[in-house]
């Protein structure tokens, strides 16, 4: 997994301030921007674009190497249960990508 953390000096400065009590009536934070790069492979672009509508792709990279059955069920769950707007063909592209790049080795 290759990943990059964008530092944003602003975040570090903010984090330094944030330990005091919120005297102001408005309390705000600014979230760091963290970029996770998925493995190269067929379907990577679709996977990155469509999954990232709702969540960062470290949701993918933190999972163990699942079987095709488990990855298929996960993609279906995202669409049918969690409401992801992904059509059937894209779902297949994403599932194949996950199985190939983040799936169980045949011996497992």
């Amino acid at each position: 997994m290759k990943s990059y953390i964008f530092p944003t000096i602003a975040v570090l400065i903010l984090a330094g301030f944030a330990h005091g009590a919120p005297d102001a009536t408005v309390h705000s934070i600014s979230l760091p921007s963290i970029h996770i790069e998925l493995k190269q492979g067929a379907g990577r672009q679709k996977t990155e674009t469509l999954c990232a509508i709702c969540h960062s792709v470290d949701y993918i990279t933190m999972q163990p190497n699942f079987s095709r059955a488990v990855w298929t069920a996960e993609v279906n769950k995202m669409i049918k249960v969690m409401g992801a707007p992904i059509n059937e063909q894209d779902a297949k592209t994403i599932t194949d990508y996950l199985v190939t790049e983040y799936g169980a080795r045949p011996s497992q």
């Binding site: 997994m1 944030a18 709702c54 969540h55 969690m82």
Partner: protein
């Protein structure tokens, strides 16, 4: 704020900072199992699981302390649209539905109710999910999606009594400021049965360890259901709704459910069957010191220590084995902060021979509930409380 950091933790933190300061400078050799630290606002460097929405786990060294510092408390959000700014002059906690009155409480209003405080363990339902065998999908937490915090706030019961629950009410739902990224995604709303919600110890907390809540832990106020998993501890509360019909939202009816049997478990890999909403935490004991690869010297005193807690029944005893579970010895329990808190335990040890040792720890709560030797399995990866077992080398 007192910190006890191992040198290893220091190196990890230092590594995270240098990674953050060099764009694209992370080594490309990170393995799938290696985890890294990230710093989010109002938080110290925590283990990054996911960034949007944030899921951050606490490094082990913080569990050397009885109370978890606010900036080290784990973070877990479900939906990517999380609150990042709250204007307290506009924020109101709305209470309504099947009630005599509709309330719109400001923070000042909340602070005018009687203030109550207690210490309670907050733990993610999926804490320990990465130890399941076979593995299950979801947040791949190790053991550290948990914290022991002194919470202060107002009794939910007092708020509900001011609103006046009408006869025939069955459930009460709780909604926070977080929102789904698309209208098709189910909003995170949780519910409690009315009888549960009226228990004395459930509070709307506006302070953690005497300070305001960090934004990522639910500023300005969150629900605390001590003894129950944190899925019910709705963050950044905005609406409390009393219902005359059972609540049927996704996060109660479909998600956060366990098999309907005494262990909440199944034969690995089998389908879920009949389920019920998860609630009480299982009893647990965690070895904090030594960490798995700490150097231990032969014939020198070494103190094994850790923490133990249960789902609101306190801890009757904590046992330690240094020989893989053949002999169990009682550990000394530390200061007791009440039935919802964790207790620290310590066991003095002096290994007489060099070699490999298997250390184990188990706790029993005051009603006799303990921990299984083998990990129990369920499809969502909940309730993990297998007896801990770590291998150490004495030299």
């Amino acid at each position: 704020m007192k910190r006890e950091f191992s040198r290893r933790d220091f190196l990890r933190v230092a590594g995270a900072f240098s990674a953050m300061s060099a764009i694209g400078g992370l080594p490309s050799a990170l393995t799938a199992d290696e985890r890294r630290l990230a710093q989010f606002p109002e938080k110290t460097s925590l283990i990054l699981l996911t960034s949007r929405p944030p899921q951050l786990e606490t490094p082990l060294a913080y569990f050397n302390e009885l109370i978890t510092p606010n900036d080290a408390v784990f973070v877990r959000w479900h939906l990517s649209s999380i609150p990042t700014s709250v204007n307290l002059s506009e924020w109101r906690l709305k209470v309504g539905g099947n009630t005599e009155r509709q309330l719109e409480l400001s923070m000042d209003d909340l602070r005018r109710f009687e203030k109550v405080s207690y210490t309670a363990v907050m733990q993610c339902s999926g804490n320990g999910r990465s130890f399941f065998s076979p593995r299950v999908p979801g947040g791949q937490w190790k053991n550290r999606a948990m914290a022991n915090v002194t919470w202060s706030g107002v009794r939910l019961k007092d708020i509900l009594n001011r609103a006046g629950i009408k006869a025939g009410s069955v459930d009460i739902s709780f909604d926070g400021l977080d929102a789904p990224p698309l209208p098709s995604v189910p909003d995170l709303v949780k519910s409690l049965p009315v009888d549960k919600a009226m228990e004395d110890d459930i509070i709307v907390a506006y302070e953690m360890n005497g300070k305001y809540l960090p934004m990522l832990n639910g500023f300005p106020a969150r629900l605390i259901v001590p003894g129950w998993y944190a899925t019910y501890w709705v963050k950044s509360l905005k609406d409390i709704t009393v219902l005359s019909k059972p609540f049927e939202g996704f996060w109660m009816k479909t998600a956060y459910r366990i098999p309907d049997n005494p262990c909440g478990c199944l034969l690995p890999g089998s389908p879920p069957g009949k389920t019920v909403p998860i609630n009480k935490m299982t009893t647990r004991s965690i070895i904090v010191n030594p960490p798995a690869d700490a150097p231990i010297e032969v014939n020198k005193p070494f103190e094994i220590s850790g923490i133990a807690f249960s789902g609101g029944y306190g801890v009757r005893d904590a046992l330690v084995s240094v020989d893989g579970g053949r002999v169990w010895n009682e550990a000394r329990l530390g200061k007791d902060l009440g039935k919802y808190s964790w207790v620290r335990w310590r066991y003095p040890w002096r290994p007489e021979k060099a070699g490999a040792y298997t250390l184990m720890a188990r706790a029993t709560n005051s009603v006799g509930e303990s921990q299984p030797l083998e990990g129990l399995w369920n499809p969502s990866g909940f309730l993990w409380n297998k007896i801990e077992r770590i291998e150490v080398m004495v030299r």
